[in-house]
């Protein structure tokens, strides 16, 4: 990845080259432990009653003790089904939700204790691309203004950058700068997602949280955006936290993958290791359920069918949260929470009875 550092500078225009020169190079980052380090992150949302005092009657335990790290130039994929806490994790990393407890360290700075004003300078390095390209762009602003907004908010507009920077960003994501005076509704879904990416890149961040960035798009368009994200990462040495439910896309883009179930990471491993030798029963079930675009393989593979639904995060099961749907569950699974333990270098599993052998995915 360090070889890409030279490419990074070619992308930035002359207008912003002064800004780049003051930034740390990837060589410095290798000295630091990780670009992003998340430790034991907990995110509970209170559920309030309907009475006069709106007392808290429960806690939705959206994220319950999640730890991971992301390096520069690396993609960590987070997969899981709806309600597993993957998007909440992404937002808590950006401090869009203030975490209940735990720590989020970005380039060595603890973010959870910062005030909003103190957080602001860090936001330029840590940006997000949302799922819905229809809802995440202001319909009343022309695209030029949408992309210029972060530059204005951070006081760069007119000093270090101007319209030429916006044009450059549009070109960067494969859009014609001449169309910058158009409004979001004049663009297709894939083009809008490119606008969202251009906006996220305006301040030359070091890391992007990508929350289901392609799931609203048609397959052929989706592929183009995935390619763009990969190329941008290579050029700018960006760290990606790629959140998605589509296992095939996550496999394609990620270096490492974390599987979440009901607020916890049940397994995390290098990409190929997870897809070929995932050990957690939930990982196995997820892989076996994901449709593969190959009818011959589809007929051959054995499918693990899970029964029932995901329990409510208001009152999650004791011990291992997957035990209510797990075919291997025993008494110990209810009484003891399995720790996320390392079974191979970089491969951690939280299960009392991990599976062996190949997944067949």
């Amino acid at each position: 990845m360090s070889s890409d550092s030279t490419v990074t500078s070619t992308v930035t225009s002359t207008a912003t080259s002064t800004a780049t020169s003051t930034r740390s190079t990837p060589a410095d980052l290798t000295a630091a432990p990780h670009l992003l380090q998340v430790d034991d992150l907990v995110m509970n949302f209170p559920v309030r009653g309907g009475g006069l005092f709106r007392r808290t009657v429960g806690q939705v335990q959206a994220v319950s003790g999640v730890s991971f790290s992301v390096d520069a130039g690396e993609t960590l994929g987070i997969v899981g089904e709806s309600g597993c806490g993957k998007s909440t994790t992404g937002r808590a990393v950006l401090q869009l939700h203030k975490p209940t407890s735990g720590s989020v360290t970005f380039e060595g700075t603890e973010l959870t204790t910062l005030s909003p004003a103190q957080m602001r300078p860090h936001r330029r390095d840590l940006q997000i691309v949302f799922q819905d390209p229809y809802a995440s762009l202001n319909p009343k602003l022309p695209v030029n203004d949408i992309i210029a907004e972060p530059l204005k908010v951070h006081g760069e507009w007119g000093r270090r950058s101007g319209p030429e920077r916006v044009a450059e960003l549009l070109r960067l994501v494969g859009l014609n700068p001449e169309h910058g005076n158009r409004f979001p509704h004049e663009f297709s879904g894939g083009q809008r997602q490119r606008i969202g990416i251009a906006r996220a890149l305006a301040l030359e961040p070091k890391m992007l949280v990508l929350d289901e960035p392609v799931s609203a798009l048609d397959v052929s368009v989706q592929a183009g955006v995935v390619n763009l994200l990969e190329d941008l990462q290579q050029r700018m040495n960006l760290g990606y936290l790629f959140i998605a439910h589509d296992l095939s896309i996550v496999r394609h883009i990620s270096d490492r993958v974390a599987v979440m179930y009901l607020g916890r990471i049940v397994e995390i491993a290098p990409r190929d290791r997870l897809y070929s030798y995932g050990k957690h029963p939930y990982t196995r079930a997820l892989l076996s359920a994901a449709p593969v675009a190959d009818p011959v393989k589809e007929r051959r593979r054995e499918r693990i069918t899970l029964h029932g639904d995901v329990p409510s995060p208001l009152n999650p099961p004791s011990g291992c949260r997957f035990r209510t749907r797990c075919w291997k569950a025993a008494d110990i699974c209810a009484s003891e929470t399995p720790p996320l333990a390392e079974v191979a270098p970089g491969h951690k599993v939280a299960c009392h009875f991990p599976e062996d052998g190949a997944t067949g995915f």
């Binding site: 089904e81 070109r171 994501v173 397959v219 290579q234 449709p291 393989k297 639904d309």
Partner: protein
């Protein structure tokens, strides 16, 4: 490896309006339950006539699963809505829809109604909006039975219970009293399947039935749907954009683009040996094991506007192997080198010449970023022309810029 332009065989003489050749010959026409012939649907709008469906033909045989794939706006849902008679009155529908020999489109509304829900079952994507929120599941199932059959409420309720059992809803008897909001997404989808098959239909139209569901639930629902189909002896028209789902459920596949079928074949053949560049492009866009470490192979550009369709092949502006004739004549859907495998492409023989047809959409690393001169590096653009890349960025939703 890349076929030359000279080798392209073009049959311009056949290029005008060939219909009804879609049905694969080995299937016996006497057992057909549904036959759609040259179905067209047009919607008048302020901007002009939208040609949503431009000639769809297929035949359906008992117990068969026909997968219809296409991206948004390809007409896959509209054509099925037209068959079911569910389009608004403003829609102008042409062609024939023969259900066991009778033309559904020319039936009286009451005849159509008696077919719909009894002989033709329907499953939609969003169960929450398809089910009535103020009626219990039991009441809705009973209504579905009794609007087509004169049987007692008790008998209908008993059948409702059997059906909930069949689709795998536990404690079916108690669940009859539940309301849709008390069910989870997967359970609601099961309830909708129960409703679709309660009158033992001959055909089930399933329009993106699992798109809103998580993968583990999707697997359950697909299993249930296929099991129930065999139980009631129905055929399924399965509409989806997800090629993975198609691979797991379909026997035959019909690929739609710009309101028309562009390729039909058995499921194995369409995945292994596509004969139409659009199908190849769809396959190349899927992140499969083979493409790990490589760039995906997306189709450049966007589908054409259905108001002002370009002349010739509607896929031409996005096609990496288009030639002159593609601009002048729209290729008809004709049988290729394989029995029952049809494609609408002037160059299907050249597509067949590729070892891996998706390779015509190949992009190299670094190519998707930026169109600025200094960013193009030294990588050549082998198959994709720069103006096509520009089209992706330049074409707006309203049509060609």
């Amino acid at each position: 490896m890349r076929p030359t332009k000279e080798s392209a065989t073009v049959s311009t003489s056949q290029a005008s309006g060939v219909v009804g050749e879609v049905v694969p010959p080995p299937l016996d026409p006497t057992t057909e339950i549904l036959r759609v012939e040259d179905l067209t649907v047009r919607f008048p709008t302020d901007d002009g006539m939208v040609h949503a469906v431009r000639g769809v033909s297929y035949a359906l045989h008992p117990r068969e699963v026909l997968g219809i794939v296409g991206e948004s706006g390809s007409g896959k849902s509209v054509s099925s809505m037209a068959v079911m008679g569910l389009l608004p009155r403003s829609a102008k529908i042409g062609g024939r829809v023969l259900f066991r020999g009778d033309d559904v489109l020319r039936m009286r509304p009451d005849q159509q109604r008696s077919l719909r829900g009894r002989k033709i079952g329907m499953i939609f994507q969003d169960a929450m909006t398809a089910l009535n929120p103020v009626l219990s599941i039991g009441a809705q199932l009973v209504e579905a039975v009794r609007s087509h059959e004169h049987i007692s409420h008790t008998a209908a309720l008993l059948r409702a219970q059997e059906m909930l059992d069949l689709v795998g809803i536990p404690q079916a008897k108690d669940r009859l009293r539940s309301y849709p909001h008390e069910f989870s997404g997967g359970m609601r989808q099961r309830a909708m399947i129960a409703m679709a098959v309660i009158n033992r239909p001959d055909v089930i139209f399933a329009d993106e039935p699992t798109t809103a569901l998580d993968v583990t639930v999707q697997a359950q629902i697909l299993d249930t749907l296929l099991a129930v189909k065999d139980e009631v002896d129905a055929a399924i028209v399965f509409i989806t954009h997800d090629l993975g789902v198609i691979a797991s459920v379909a026997d035959r596949v019909l690929v739609m683009y710009a309101g028309k079928p562009v390729e039909t074949a058995g499921v194995d053949e369409i995945f292994a040996e596509p004969r139409m560049p659009y199908t190849a492009g769809l396959l190349g866009s899927m992140p499969t094991v083979d493409l790990i470490g490589e760039r995906l192979r997306p189709i450049q550009g966007t589908p054409p506007s259905l108001i002002n369709l370009p002349t010739g092949c509607p896929f031409r502006p996005r096609c990496p192997i288009a030639i002159d004739v593609c601009a002048s004549a729209e290729p008809p859907l004709l049988e290729t080198d394989r029995r029952g495998h049809t494609a609408a492409c002037h160059r299907w023989e050249d597509v067949a010449g590729y070892d891996d047809a998706t390779s015509m959409f190949r992009v190299e690393k670094g190519q998707t970023v930026g169109l600025v001169a200094e960013d193009t590096e030294d990588v050549e653009l082998p198959e994709v022309r720069p103006e096509e890349l520009g089209r992706d960025g330049g074409t707006t939703a309203g049509g060609p810029a």
